[in-house]
């Protein structure tokens, strides 16, 4: 069965700063991994097999390259969708609670590979329970494999529990996961695709659903894999850290940006200002996943996130009332292999306005400020001021940009280039939208 990429959500404000960042002509997207016609510019790009309760996907393990912020390319392994070209990370598989999911793994690599589905129960491989693989008494894989050079294996499971999950290689994982054999699986609850779990309080705005998939790369490990050499894991040392398979500033480029043909997933969180007093103005939703080797303390500026679930489990107690155990955080300190589901609302708590409620300071002369490239020239949402001639700006209509980044700050680098790595922004558009 063909799994088609599905446009999950539409955003009212089409133009992204990311386009302006690199090329004014980069309007059409044509990635082998993502269908240009249907991809939303921001937010989660779901790969779905819509209209069935027995969705089926084919993932092909293959080699490819990604671009990194220090202008290098990196040899990778990855799961791609069907016969599509290489992509990193693997497709975001979206299914519904209760679906019987089939994933056919086709292997073009020169060693056996597999897929683990952490958090899924009763996974079958070729129709029988998936099992750790042994050669004699030696564990060779955490699950059934697709043989090297053309082998395949078919996994299936019932997606019983809504939530955010990783899928990743279970074979030689310290190599294969690091090489890029991983992706995200989202199980939507029966209550609806705009709910995180089957709890009414976990409803979110489907136009503001985002993925934050965090990973890392040791270039020497990838070089060794490329030339077929052994790599001593004792020498492992990550030099690059990525968000959704990209470093900053690529991270804020559109989904399917043409200049990132193998890295289809952006991380810009484009949202509208929320009304904290309106109970039907639902929050945004960020699905965090960590496929690295360290805890990653991700820090969204400007608001706290409410952690409502982890590893596919809503944060609820065992009591009859299922006590609410959710908690707010300003540092999402997510461990290796974990997933955290976080809802968030940004609004200006003080409702500053250029006429009726000005900021209670004298705004310094432009000459006395160091002007950021995303700054509008004005403290107010939706207001732009003329910047001194020659000042580069990427601001379009007075929108706000609020950063979100890994706070283990030595990790927001790309092997010598600072202020790259796992950094993205929340973009808040004015209520009137962006006419540009």
């Amino acid at each position: 069965m063909h799994a088609n990429t599905h446009k999950r959500t539409g955003s009212g404000f089409a133009l992204l700063v990311a386009l302006a960042l690199v090329s004014a002509t980069a309007v059409s997207v044509n990635s082998p991994a993502v269908d240009a016609q249907t991809v939303p510019r921001v937010g989660i790009v779901c790969t779905e097999d819509a209209g069935t309760t027995t969705p089926s996907f084919t993932l092909t393990a293959k080699t490819g390259y990604i671009a990194l912020p220090d202008a290098t390319t990196m040899f990778m392994w990855g799961y791609s969708n069907g016969s599509d070209g290489f992509q990193h990370p693997g497709p975001v598989l979206c299914v519904n609670e209760g679906d019987t999911v089939t994933v056919v793994l086709q292997n073009t690599l020169s060693e056996a590979v597999s897929i683990m589905f952490p958090g899924q129960e009763n996974v079958l491989a070729n129709g029988t329970p998936a099992q750790p693989q042994f050669s004699g008494t030696t564990l060779t894989s955490l699950t059934n494999t697709a043989a090297a050079n053309g082998g395949s294996v078919t996994y299936s499971f019932v997606a019983s529990n809504p939530g955010t999950y990783l899928y990743e290689s279970g074979t030689n994982p310290e190599k294969q996961v690091r090489m890029g054999l991983f992706g995200a699986l989202i199980v939507r609850p029966t209550m609806g695709s705009d709910f995180a779990y089957n709890r009414p309080e976990d409803q979110f705005n489907p136009d503001e659903e985002f993925m934050v998939l965090l990973s890392e790369i040791d270039p020497y490990q990838h070089q060794a894999a490329q030339v077929g050499a052994n790599f001593n894991m004792n020498n492992y040392q990550a030099r690059y850290w990525l968000i959704n398979g990209r470093g900053f500033p690529d991270s804020i480029a559109d989904n399917g940006a043409s200049w990132l043909p193998t890295q289809p997933y952006g991380a810009l969180a484009q949202v509208a200002e929320h009304d904290p007093d309106n109970p039907t103005d639902f929050p945004g939703m960020a699905r965090y996943l960590n496929v690295g080797t360290d805890d990653y303390p991700f820090h969204p500026h400007g608001n706290n996130g409410l952690v409502i679930g982890r590893d596919g489990y809503p944060l609820a107690g065992p009591g009859p009332g299922n006590e609410d155990l959710s908690f707010e955080k300003f540092a999402i300190n997510i461990g290796p292999g974990q997933t955290w589901d976080v809802i968030f609302k940004w609004y200006d708590a003080e409702h500053y306005d250029p006429v009726t409620n000005t900021v209670p300071v004298t705004v310094p002369s432009m000459a006395n400020q160091s002007i950021g490239v995303f700054y509008s020239g004005s403290p107010y949402l939706g207001t732009q001021e003329a910047l001194p001639s020659g000042t580069p700006t990427l601001n379009q209509c007075g929108e706000y940009y609020i950063i979100s980044h890994n706070h283990a700050l030595y990790q927001i680098v790309s092997w010598g280039v600072n202020m790259t790595g796992p950094i993205t922004y929340m973009r808040i558009d004015p209520p009137t939208g962006c006419s540009q």
Binding site: V22, A71, Q237, F248, P249, D295, P297, H299, H301, G302, N303, N304, L315, D324, L325, S326, F327, K329, F330, A331, N333, W346, Y347, D348, A349, Y352, V359, P360, V361, T362, P364, A367, N368, Q369, S370, I371, G372, V373, F374, Y375, P379, L381, P388, T391, L394, Y400, I402, H407, L409, Y410, Q411, I412, V413, W415, G416, V417, N418, M419, T420, I423
Partner: protein
């Protein structure tokens, strides 16, 4: 071999053009600078901080020599350029509130670590409280005039703030050398936060422009559960007074990776992915220096920040014999009386996750990331533990009740009982010296009766 290492980040921004310039900020050097606007701030700030560079002290022995590092075999630590008795080049904030212009400018090259501790009251809608205004100036970097870096103040964790007051320089503005900027805060959520400069933050945070700030709850001053001081507004919860305390201590965690400090002092660039915490600090010092007293504090002025006494030139005063700690002014010693409730406010702006353990006393975590431990339905999610696993950028609010005094002259023979508060992530826990104990550690001293007088300000040792 690796060309990247020869390309400074500033050159990189210059060469790479707009796409990468997004990571930094552009200073406009217009032909007309308007001096009146630079300081024409309509409202007097409550707190006035200056960003600059300087030197501080860490234990000078043993030397740290890494042949493969930026120093190419020279000692990274102590830094050969450091004036005695200091060892380590830093960037930092200084409190210049109320200083004359001459005094203020005189604080260039006299940074401290960690930054001045300050606190504010929760904004009061009813009584229309005033905003808290923090003015920042940039005194420049004496040792590195080539780094014409701006500075900002980022109040880490402040909710629903506009970019203008968030201090992230790409989305708003930075403060060039010689200029001022006022940040306005209307703190609506009590709890423990932290602050730092967000310009080139990999570097400026590691170099020391970091500190702790907390927000007192509205409930303070009322009597709930036998307390009048609290970490959160807990009167209408199932456990009123559970966040109340008799004494409070800020515990600010930071780290020094000597490669980066040496590199900044010697016009080099470190390879950040090589990062390790050579020194893990508590309130800017390593054990046992953490036990030494605060620099002289002006208690009367310490109503919203820990006011370290300054001399006629505005420089920091020190205690006799502790001149080496002139720019590490903050103590971490916890003195308390048996049976008292003690609040510890932890915040971590190091780059590594740490494991702060209080041996022999259970701590109750009542808040994390400036959020009272409560579910959306009011479920009490506070918990007891002896270890706080605290990642970079996280904060924890804990309380503990001081155990009864063991009697006599105390278990230590010193008139008090000693409990160790230390980092069980033992990397750096010996200050790199063989044997001994160091790093992110301090002691809790429990005295009998009412030996320790009431606390006048946070981190007041009392005796």
């Amino acid at each position: 071999m690796n060309e990247k290492r020869n390309l400074s980040r500033r050159e990189f921004l210059k060469y790479a053009g707009g796409a990468v310039a997004a990571a930094g900020t552009i200073t406009w050097a217009g032909k007309i600078l308007l001096p009146e606007a630079a300081s024409a701030q309509a409202l007097t700030p409550h707190l006035y901080l200056a960003g600059t560079d300087g030197w501080m002290y860490l234990p000078p022995t043993p030397q740290i020599i890494r042949p493969s590092s930026v120093a190419g075999g020279a000692p990274l630590h102590p830094d050969s350029a450091a004036p005695d008795p200091f060892t380590t080049y830093i960037f930092g904030f200084r409190n210049i509130t109320g200083m004359s212009e001459t005094q203020k400018l005189g604080q260039k090259f006299k940074a401290q670590h960690n930054a001045p501790l300050f606190w504010v009251n929760q904004y009061d809608e009813v009584f229309n409280d005033v905003d808290f205004r923090v003015q920042i100036t940039n005194l420049g970097l004496e040792l590195r005039p080539d780094l014409f870096d701006a500075h900002t103040l980022h109040w880490h964790g402040f909710r629903n703030v506009i970019p203008f007051f968030d201090g992230e320089p790409s989305g708003s503005v930075g403060i060039p050398t010689g200029r001022n900027f006022n940040y306005i805060y209307r703190p609506r959520e009590p709890g423990t936060y932290m602050f730092h400069c967000h310009v080139e933050d990999v570097e400026h945070v590691q170099m020391g422009m970091t500190g702790l700030v907390f927000v007192r709850p509205l409930q303070d001053g009322t009597s709930v559960g036998g307390f009048t001081k609290f970490m959160y507004n807990d009167a209408d919860t199932t456990t009123p007074g559970s966040t109340g305390f008799d004494r409070e201590f800020a515990m600010f965690l930071s780290e020094v990776w000597t490669d980066s400090h040496w590199a900044d002092a010697h016009v080099q660039l470190p390879e950040w992915s090589d990062y390790k915490a050579d020194f893990a600090m508590l309130n800017g010092r390593v054990y046992p220096d953490t036990l030494l007293p605060n620099s002289p504090i002006n208690a009367a002025n310490s109503t919203s920040w820990l006011d370290v006494e300054t001399d006629a030139n505005g420089d920091l005063m020190t205690n006799p014999g502790l001149e080496h700690l002139q720019y590490n002014p903050h103590s971490s010693l916890v003195n308390c009386n048996a049976g008292e409730r003690v609040a510890l406010r932890f915040a971590n702006l190091g780059f590594k996750e740490q494991a702060m353990t209080l041996a022999g006393i259970q701590m109750r975590v009542v808040g994390r990331d400036a959020t009272h431990m409560r579910g959306r339905d009011g479920t009490d999610t506070s918990y007891e533990t002896d270890t706080i696993n605290i990642g970079p950028g996280e904060s924890f609010d804990v309380v503990f009740t001081a155990p009864s005094f063991s009697g006599g002259s105390g278990s230590s023979g010193r008139g008090y009982d000693t409990y160790m508060l230390y980092n069980r992530n033992y990397v750096g826990s010996n200050n790199l010296a063989p044997g001994g104990f160091g790093g992110q550690a301090t002691e809790v001293h429990v005295y009998p009766g009412t030996t320790v007088p009431a606390q006048q300000y946070p981190n007041d040792l009392g005796i």
